[in-house]
Amino acid sequence: MKIGVCAKITPDADARIKVAADGQSIVLDGVKFGISDYDEYAIEEAIRTKEKHGGEIVSFTVGDASADKQLRSGALALGVDRSVLVTENPGDPLGIAKLLAAAIQKEGGFDVVFTGKSTIDQQNFQIGTMVAELLGWAHVTQVTALEFEGNQFKATRNMDAGIRQVVAGTLPAVISCEDGLNTVRYAKLPDIMKAKKKPLDSVGAGAIGGDAGAARSSVGNLAPPPARPAGRMIEGDAATAAKELVRLLRDEAKVL
């Protein structure tokens, strides 16, 4: 199978994020970057698919030229065969999706492309769906289990209230990956060394015949969540306090 995977470089999940003075971006100094958590599931699924069905894995990233560091250690070292890095900075998700779709088309011949269900920085939940639409392929979101047989796929997706939906379809398809689909492996140290020599193409939009186009949406304002208010101590012995706690949860917080 020819397998594609989309991977975005984002601040680490445990990075301390501060809003920049412009109120529209975040302070990048001193922030550690890595591949977005859900995209790590996509990479892992790509590798497992290759292990089972053979083939080749190509990753696609739209981002800064400095992303090669994270791509080598977070994608190529794990088992992605080569990476394409489109060094553009589109203003909205649609721009990113257009460039990814163009790069995937330019490369050509894919059976399946994996993406994360969203990225942990912007959380727009749009890329996979837009890429599928631009390519005109089948698409399933939030996948937690997946099988391939011939040119068919069967995907299980999580819905609200614990309901699971099983979707079958014909390849090529874009599969967006949810937590629980797999457990991400660690890179073997020798593979980190080998990854230094794997092909990583840094290209501009022109080289892939892509055009992000004008942004149709923009970030108006970023604000940190409000500071957590101080907790309230409930006085009295255990029995009284428990009663009061239940009353507060029911009448004030309205969570019971």
Binding site: K188, L189, I192
Partner: protein, 589 residues
């Protein structure tokens, strides 16, 4: 509550400060391991340690190992076997070893700095790979080609584990008393005797265990010059069980998930490593690396304890600041970081520990230089520094490490003493570092009795040369004066102490036994002052607003004003000599 995060930024900083690019990357065999690549390796390694090994630390402590006398087996706590399989599958144990035997061929300094994270997340676990590392080193140096071929592939891959069987009931520090015997038999020897305190002597992590056993041949001269080293595998090539059996595991204060075994050799088959009667040589090969690693144990657990104490302190409100301006009127009490004494404790730990980490980075890199640099003079200089400063890292690192874990607990008050936080475990786990791998006093004797006189005092001159070079580099920088002044004074004082001690000791050897431990601590503080001056000089290159620059300079300042003065006290204790100890009537004890 466990908040530990690997201090990879500080590890990287120290690699840079002590010249990774110039000293290590420039060595041809390490050309692939540029700093970026090196950090990628350490990041992946650390991720595994935090995700997989750290969650097993407290449970391993609670459950401990299980010995079954019926079949002499030792079972490690739940999760250890899978964790070991994952650790070796990802080749985290192969960093410094020869590619010929399946190793990565990366700098020893990287595996050494990585081990800080391994120990901080699970000290018990680290003991298994640590002992195997010692055996690999000894075999690389003294094994025959056939032995290397036979054992090294599986020891490097981690399919087999190794041990060091030195101690016996009647012989601990004094290995000349070894009484285990080896008599010729077939193509090898048969060994009989009892070994104690054998770390990972028996366990269920690997399919085979290879023991390096010290024993005496029938024609051995008495004492330390009659000791030979033998390889004794648990299972022989034909799959049969070699009679080297675990007779029980010790119930210890800490490192409960690391089995400490009695090993009974009942005519076990073994093969000589190196020359007959020269077994101590094989031991000394791995001694520097092993002792360096024990010093790191202090650094590792002090770092983990410090992070816990800091997290606690940032959250805790208690009493009012004595400075009205710092009082927080929106609350009934102030955050305890307003109290100078809380800061004193935290900075005591931070300043000594970050200094020790720098010292470890410097000496670990010197270890690579000593083995692999192209230039012979450079190799010799590095070897001198490794020999001189390894006992200091082992002894001061473990002693200060224990004190630092205790100080961290003090910051946390009663909370630190409970099992709600990991600090009480760290304190139990780190205490052994002052004892094993040569007690700290043995380190002091090694420093004073062996390292100072070695090559006519050359080692000390090499160290002094490094200090002088730094002082010269900084002479025109007024920003460095607050560090270079005291560094110069304390170096002079150390020099004077060394001369006076040398004169007193040549007249009376017993003086060495009385003063060596205090001398080592004085030396350690001067060494850390040198390290802090190097770190301060490096951050002065950074932008004034850079948080790293501010943090390092303030910590350096604390070290120079609040810790370095201890050096003068140690010097005074050395100066008084032995009388107050040796004159005491035996009835006093």
């Amino acid at each position: 509550m466990d908040v530990y995060r690997p201090p990879l930024d500080d590890i990287r900083f120290n690699l840079e400060v002590f010249g990774y690019a110039e000293r290590i990357e420039s060595i041809e065999r390490f050309a692939d391991f540029d700093l970026e690549t090196a950090m990628s390796l350490l990041e992946e390694y650390s991720k595994f340690c935090v995700d997989v090994l750290k969650p097993l630390n407290a449970s391993g402590d609670t459950v401990g190992v299980r010995f079954d006398p019926a079949d002499h087996s030792v079972t490690t706590p739940d999760g250890f076997k899978a964790a070991y399989a994952g650790f070796t599958e990802n080749a985290f144990n192969t960093i410094p070893w020869n590619p010929e035997f399946g190793g990565m061929g990366a700098p020893f300094s990287l595996s050494t700095l990585a081990s800080e994270v391994l120990i901080a997340t699970n000290k018990s676990f680290s003991m298994c790979t640590g002992l195997t590392a010692g055996l690999i080193e000894a075999l690389e140096a003294y094994g025959t080609d056939a032995q290397k071929e036979h054992y090294l592939h599986k020891l490097v891959s981690g399919e087999w584990a190794g041990t060091m069987c030195l101690t016996e009931p009647q012989c601990g520090t004094d290995l000349g008393l070894v009484s285990t015997t080896a008599v010729p038999s077939g193509d090898g020897f048969e060994l009989t005797g009892t070994k104690i305190w054998i770390t990972f002597g028996e366990h269920d992590l690997t399919e085979n265990i290879v023991h390096l056993v010290l024993a005496r041949l029938p024609d051995a001269p008495p004492g330390i010059k009659g000791i030979s080293a033998f390889l004794v595998p648990k299972f022989l090539d034909d799959g049969s069980r070699n009679p080297i059996f675990c007779g029980g595991t010790d119930h210890k204060m800490g490192i409960h998930a690391s089995p400490t075994c009695v090993m009974n050799l009942e005519g076990a088959k073994g093969w000589l490593v190196g020359e007959a009667h020269k077994g101590m040589r094989s031991m000394f090969v791995m001694m520097n690396a092993a002792r360096l690693n024990v010093g790191i144990e202090g650094v590792a657990l002090a770092e983990a304890a410090y992070q816990a104490a800091l997290a606690f302190a940032k959250d805790r409100r208690q009493s009012r600041s004595l400075s009205p301006k710092k009082q927080d009127r929106t609350s009934d009490a102030d955050n305890i970081l307003v109290h100078p004494d809380v800061r004193r404790m935290l900075l005591n730990v931070k300043s000594t520990n970050e200094g020790l980490r720098g010292l470890v980075a410097w000496i670990a890199m010197s270890y690579d230089v000593m083995h692999h640099a192209a230039d012979a003079a450079e190799r010799e200089k590095a070897e001198d520094l490794v020999a001189l400063l390894t006992p200091i890292i082992k002894s001061y690192g473990s002693e200060r490490g224990f004190a630092n874990v205790s100080e961290s607990m003090q910051v946390m008050g009663g909370a630190g003493y409970t099992k709600d936080w990991p600090v009480e475990q760290y304190m139990r786990d780190v205490r052994i570092a002052m004892i094993y791998e040569g007690t700290n006093h043995i380190q002091a004797l090694d420093l004073v009795g062996r390292k100072l006189p070695m090559h006519g005092g050359r080692l000390m001159r090499v160290f002094a040369g490094e200090v002088t070079a730094l002082l010269r580099e900084c002479a025109d920088d007024p920003r460095m004066a607050e560090f270079t002044g005291p560094l110069k004074d304390e170096s002079k004082r150390l020099n004077a102490t060394t001369m006076e001690m040398g004169a007193a000791a040549s007249a009376d050897h017993e003086v060495i036994g009385a003063v060596a431990s205090n001398y080592l601590n004085q030396f350690a503080l001067v060494t850390l002052a040198y390290v802090w001056a190097k770190q301060a000089k490096a951050v002065l290159e950074l932008d004034e607003a850079d948080p790293k620059r501010r943090s390092k300079l303030q910590t350096a300042r604390f070290f120079y004003q609040m810790v370095l003065p201890e050096a003068a006290t140690y010097a005074r204790k050395v100066a008084v000599g032995k009388a107050c100890m040796t004159d005491a009537d035996p009835d006093l004890f």
